[in-house]
Symmetry: C2
Subunit: 439 residues, 2 copies
Amino acid sequence: MTSLDETHDQNRRSWVASANGHPDFPIQNLPFGIFQPHGGAPRSGVAIGDEILDLKEAFSLGLFSGLAREAAEAASGATLNPLMALGSAARVALRARLSALLDEAGAERTKVEGYGTVLLHKAVDCILHLPARIGDYTDFYAGINHATNVGRLFRPDNPLLPNYKYVPIGYHGRASSVRASGGAVVRPNGQRKPATEEFPSYGPSRNFDYELELGIWIGPGNALGTTVPIAAADQHIVGYCLLNDWSARDIQGWEYQPLGPFLAKNFHTTVSPWLVTPEALAPFRAAQAPRPDGDPRPLDYLWDDGDQATGALDIALEVLLLTAGRRMAGEEPIRIGGSNTRELYWTPAQMVAHHASGGCNLGPGDLFGSGTISGTTTDSFGSLLEITEGGRKPLALPSGETRRFLEDGDEVVFRAQCRREGFATIGFGECRGRVVPAV
Amino acid sequence: MTSLDETHDQNRRSWVASANGHPDFPIQNLPFGIFQPHGGAPRSGVAIGDEILDLKEAFSLGLFSGLAREAAEAASGATLNPLMALGSAARVALRARLSALLDEAGAERTKVEGYGTVLLHKAVDCILHLPARIGDYTDFYAGINHATNVGRLFRPDNPLLPNYKYVPIGYHGRASSVRASGGAVVRPNGQRKPATEEFPSYGPSRNFDYELELGIWIGPGNALGTTVPIAAADQHIVGYCLLNDWSARDIQGWEYQPLGPFLAKNFHTTVSPWLVTPEALAPFRAAQAPRPDGDPRPLDYLWDDGDQATGALDIALEVLLLTAGRRMAGEEPIRIGGSNTRELYWTPAQMVAHHASGGCNLGPGDLFGSGTISGTTTDSFGSLLEITEGGRKPLALPSGETRRFLEDGDEVVFRAQCRREGFATIGFGECRGRVVPAV
C-alpha cells in the first residue's frame, strides 16, 4: 500500500482556483486521462478542478526530471498504456511533481501559471477518450449482494452457488466495445424468448439495464505461464474508474447457458475516463469486511495479511437517472441507487492474483470490472434487475414516471466520491451514457 | 463466395520444387503469415512448399502494382492487421499476382527465381509468429456432436439445452494468451473440487485436455452499434487456422457456473500460424448439412440462401498425440482422433452475423474459435473428455500407454487438409503444443 505523504495533505491548495473544494478533482486527486482539446489531437492530461493540465506539453516544457520525467515521457503518447507498463515508483514521482507544480504555494507557481492556456485547457471544451488501448477486459462478480439478489430470482432458497465464496468468479468480456463516458448507447437487438412465448424472436431488448461497477486498470502484468502472488498484486493495479456493464437481461436469460453472458453484455460498456490512481486512493483503503461466521477462509493463494488489513476500498457510489422527460424539462438526474465498494466480497488484489493464478498473462491496459456493487437495501442496489425484482415491481420516480427497465432516452449517470475525516474529498468524475433506440 | 480462377488450377506448378505435391502448401494455397528468419525481424510471408516468400522484400523489390501492391504494402509491417483491414479485392489481387510470380511457367520466373535467398527462406530456419495482434478472441460452441457429448456427461437424457439450435452459442475468451504453434504449454494451477473432496484446493490441473477447433480470422469488421447482415458476413472473414482450446476440465467444472469458463481456458490457446484464405478454400466450400427433422429453421438474421448453399467448409481434421515416451524413442505421433468442419452446426458466416447482431463491433485481428469439432464416433471426437467419457474410460494407445487426460510431456498436434477431386490438396500446417509441468 502506498504511504501517505504531502500530496495527501488536506490543506494543500492549488493556484487553479476551481480545484479547491472541487467534488472530484482537488489537488489531492490528480487522475490521469486522455483528452482532446478543440482542434487538437488526443493527448494525456491530468484533471485539476475544472481544468485539464496538458501532460505532453508539460513534458515538452521540461517541467520534469528523473523518475517523474520518465513517467511523463511514457504518458506523452495517445494512450496511457506506456505509463501503465511502468512500475509505481515513476508514477508516484510524477504525482509528487505535479502536486508541487500545481500547489498555490509552489516555488515555481509563477512560471507554471504563466504558461496559461498552453498548459491548461477548460475540461468542458475537451473530449475525453478511453485512457488506454484495452488489451483484454474481464468482468468479475465480486458484489456478493448482487450475486445473492440475482441468484434469488432463479433459486429462492439457495441463491449463491457453492463456488462463490471460494472462487472470485469472473468471465471474459468484450474489449472492443468499451467506450468512455458520454456517448449514446444503442439498445441492442438480439434473441429473446420470454417464458410466455414458445419460440425465440430477434428484436430490440425489452429488459435493458445498467450495472454499477468499479473498473480496475492493470499494469505492468506478468508473463504467460507465471503467476502474480497476492502480496505483489497491488503492484499491478495502476488505477480505478467507474464502469457501467450495460446488460440486456432478456437476451442474457436466453443465451447464457452453458457458457455465460455474450451478446447480452458485449454491445457496449461505459467507463469514466479518468484513471484515479492507487496513490490518490491511499487514504481511502479499508480493511476487508469480516466474513460472516461459516464463510470459508480464502485459499492461501488468495490470502495476504496486508490485503486483509488494507486491501478493500471505501468509495461511495451513486446511480442517477435522467429520463427524457426530465431532460426536456431542464431538470436534474434523480438518484435511484448507490452503495460502496466495501460491499465487494473480494479485493482488487484478490482478483489480480486469481486471474493470474493459472498462468494467464495480464498486461498494461487490461481492464477489470468488479461486478455489480449492491448494498443490502433496495435503495442501494446497483441494477434495475435487483431494484424491480426482475421487472415485477416497477420503480416509481418522483416525477411520476415508472421504470421496469431502461427506456430509450434514459441517461444513466454514475458518480463516486471518497470521504474521510482529515482528508480532502476526491471523486471519479462521471460515467454517463444515454440509451438510444435500437437500429 | 469467391469464384474459382486460374489460381485454383490443379495443373499449375511452382518453380519452388517442394511446393509441387506438398501436403499443405502447394501453389494453390499461398497462406499468409508472420515469420522471423534467423537474425532478422518478424515480417510477413507466404508459405510455398517448404519455403517462405518474404512479402515485405517482394514489395520492396517492386513486384506488385495496383490493388496487389496495396495489399502487399498493407502486409509489410510486423502483423497482418492492416491486410485484414482491407476488403477482399486487394487480397484477391495479391493472391493472383503471387500465384503468377511463383508459377513455373510464369513470364517473370527467371527474374523472381534470381532473387534467391533474398526472397525465399527455408521454413525450418524460421520462427513463426501469430499472424496478427489479436483484438478480441471469441470461442463458439458450434460443434453439435461435442456439445451433445459434453452435455450427456451432465444430463444423459437431455444433452442439448433448448437454446442450442437457435443461438450460435459463444463466449469471450482471452486474447493475450493465444500463441502460435510450437511452444510449451504450462499445465495450469487452479482451484479444483472433485466430487470426492469436501473442499476445493489449489494445485495443478489433473484433467488437462485439448479441444480441436477451426480458427476464423476477422476483418474489416463493423462499427459499434451496427450489425453485419448474414449475406455480407463472408466479407469479414479474412482467413482460417487450426485452434487448440486447451482446457483444464477440473478447474472448469468447479468455476464455470454461473458465468462460464474462465481460468479453465485462459492460460493458453494455440493456433496454427498460417492464415489460409477464403480464396484458397473456395474449392472446398460445401452446403450446410441438412438439419434433422424437427430442428428449427434459423431465425432470419441467421438465414441466407447463399450461406446455406456454400457456407460450410469441407476440411478434414486430425489430432495426433506424441507422448514423451514415443518422442524419446524417436517415433512419430499417433492419430487419436479426427473429424471434419462439415460437422459444425453453424457456418462461419452465421457466427459473424450473430456476433454483430447486437451491435458489437468486430475488427481486423479478431479471432473466433468454432468450438470443438467432433464426429459421431469415438475415433472422431475432438477432445479427451469425449473420448474417455470424462476420464472414466482411458484411451489405450498402440504403444501400450493409456491416457485419461494429457500428461506432462505429451505433445498434441492438429493437422488439416482439404481434398476434392479435380483440385490440388491444400492444408493448414501444424497446430502443435507440448504440455510442460505446472509451475
